[in-house]
């Protein structure tokens, strides 16, 4: 479907904030409220906008915190770059929370967070164990977190600018 520039712009804005007031949205794209509403309606009817969903921090909801798994990964190091290259391929996945190079029985310790055990299992079987250098994986699910260091959900949002500047 070929959409106009304004239509694409409306989608981009709604994709970030579906609850934006229609008046504000209309001003942002320099259309009237009626014109904007008509476009949104069209986008909904044509299922370009499929649904409006909320982004949730489940860790704040008792009993819905999601699951964390620590995975022991054995890999074959590559000449020249050692373990770094495969480590990088792994840590680039957004669901990977940390990657450590370990001494001992295995090489990399990978921490994954997912919504459910099956999501984590899927990641391991589809993404992790299919990497060329990965020889084997052993997955341990965390049952209870007594202490969890370093995960700050709201980081990055604070405004560090001085209040008035030229």
């Amino acid at each position: 479907m070929k959409l106009s520039e304004k239509e694409v712009e409306i989608i981009e804005i709604l994709e970030k904030d579906a609850r934006i007031p229609m008046e504000t949205l209309a001003k942002m794209v320099e259309l009237t409220v009626e014109e904007t509403e008509a476009i949104v309606k069209k986008l909904e009817e044509t299922k370009v906008i499929v649904q409006y969903a909320a982004l949730v921090d489940w860790r704040k909801v008792d009993g819905h915190e999601g699951v964390t798994a620590m995975i022991d990964v054995k890999v074959t190091p590559k000449r020249g770059v050692g373990f770094d290259e495969v480590a990088e391929r792994i840590y680039r996945f957004p669901e990977v929370k940390s990657v450590y190079l370990m001494s001992g029985a295995y090489d990399l310790s990978v921490v994954i967070e997912g919504r459910s055990m099956s999501e984590v299992a899927q990641f391991v079987s589809e993404k992790l164990s299919t990497l060329d250098s990965v020889i084997s994986t052993t997955t341990h699910f965390i049952l209870k977190k007594y202490k969890h260091d370093g995960t700050v959900f709201d980081q990055g949002d604070q405004d560090r600018r001085i209040v008035v500047s030229p």
């Binding site: 712009e9 981009e12 804005i13 904030d17 934006i20 007031p21 504000t24 001003k27 942002m28 794209v29 320099e30 990055g156 405004d159 600018r161 001085i162 209040v163 008035v164 500047s165 030229p166």
Partner: protein, 390 residues
């Protein structure tokens, strides 16, 4: 024990500089809780991760020494390519580009490189607060030309001609402008260029906001016919690339002028910070998409904010660039300072009174829309309430 002396050790030139009006507002606002600040002259984005990462990498790899005085040649080459690609102006990276500590330092160098004692430099107000002091510090005399709101703060060529004397050396043009957001169009620059050529002047073109224009095509002063030879083009990474704290800018100018600026720079600065230069290299190589993303985001916020200002009764022209709205507050009968102060104390919205940018800014306030949409919406709500109460 300290001895009391009557004598001031501070130079007369510095004593004569007036304190910045921004400073006063900063002091008023910075102690308060719950303030929505529209007084900030910088992007609300944090520098893109790839740029930060490139700079971190340079540190990890031990690039911690000085660079060439003019800046990394690689970076100057990227700047030259960028200026060509974006603005269709050609500069030799070896001899005509200088990497500086912000556009601020480039402005300072430009003034010091061209001004003889008593030379006059035309400053167009309302404008960025540094121009007048920098001219004075370089031993020149700032000559003020006022632009006005009824004219959307456009500079008319006749206005320049009226103040030209045989001491006039240069003219500072800032487009897009801080604080008005006004962008000078090609034909307007051409008309100004004709006067500049007629009287054999230089233009110091502060194009730090050139990445942030929202309507039509942007023309650099240096791209205007016959102007390259008489332009010192000044820009940088602060605004377009959201890199204010990195303190990195650049100047591009014909060899003779650039070498004069470099002469001062090598004694006064040695070189711009190395780690920032590596970040800038990445910005120019791979930053285009992020700049476009930010530009779009400012544009939407501009549209929302300026229309809303007009709706609540503060007349505001649609600014073509930068991230400032400069609405008139004349309908309230208050001065800019009174308005800004009362708005701050009564509704906790910080704006900058227009008169700090020059006398013709009186009757206006500068509002930066480089704030989140939520904050802008809340600010409009508070300003509306404030206006209704007046």
């Amino acid at each position: 024990m300290r001895q009391q002396t009557k004598k001031s050790y501070v130079s007369e030139t510095v004593s004569r500089l007036k304190p910045s009006g921004i400073r006063r507002f900063f002091d008023l606002a910075s102690g308060m809780e719950g303030v929505i600040s529209l007084g900030v002259g910088e992007p609300d984005f944090v520098t893109s991760w790839n740029i930060r990462e490139a700079s971190i990498l340079s540190l990890e790899q031990g690039y911690t020494s000085y660079t060439a005085n003019a800046g990394l040649l690689e970076l100057r080459q990227e700047i030259a390519a960028y200026l060509m690609r974006k603005f269709h102006v050609e500069y030799n990276p070896e001899t005509e580009i200088l990497v500086t500590v912000g556009a601020s330092q480039a402005l300072d160098l430009a003034m010091r490189a061209i001004i003889n004692p008593g030379d006059e430099v035309i400053v167009v107000e309302p404008c960025f607060v540094a121009y007048e002091p920098l001219v004075a510090l370089a031993g020149g005399t700032p000559v003020l030309v006022e632009t006005h709101g009824d004219d959307h703060f456009k500079l008319r060529p006749e206005q320049i001609e009226q103040v030209i004397t045989d001491r006039t050396k240069a003219l500072i043009i800032c487009s897009p402008n801080n604080p008005t957001g006004t962008v000078l169009q090609k034909e307007e620059l051409e008309a100004i260029g004709r006067i500049v050529k007629k009287y054999d002047l230089l233009v110091v073109a502060d194009e730090i906001y050139a990445e942030l224009t929202y309507d039509g095509t942007y023309t650099s002063v240096a791209a205007v016919d016959g102007m390259w030879e008489r332009t010192i083009l000044i820009s940088g990474f602060s605004k377009g690339f959201a890199m204010t704290g990195w303190r990195l800018g650049f100047a591009a100018a014909p060899n003779e002028i650039l070498q004069a600026m470099l002469k001062i720079h090598q004694y006064a600065m040695m070189c711009a910070p190395t780690m920032a230069q590596y970040g800038a290299l990445e910005a120019l190589r791979n930053g285009g998409q992020d700049v476009e993303y930010m530009r779009k985001s400012y544009r939407r916020r501009r549209n929302y904010f300026v229309q809303s200002l007009n709706e609540i009764g503060l007349y505001c022209h649609m600014p073509g660039g930068a991230f400032y709205a400069f609405p008139s507050i004349q309908s309230t009968g208050l001065t800019s300072e009174q308005f800004a102060e009362r708005l701050l104390f009564e509704e906790k919205v910080a704006v900058v009174p227009g008169n700090v940018f020059g006398a013709s800014g009186e009757g206006y306030i500068r509002c930066s829309y480089a704030s989140s949409l939520e904050q802008l919406q809340e600010a409009i709500k508070r300003m509306k309430r404030f206006l209704e109460r007046l």
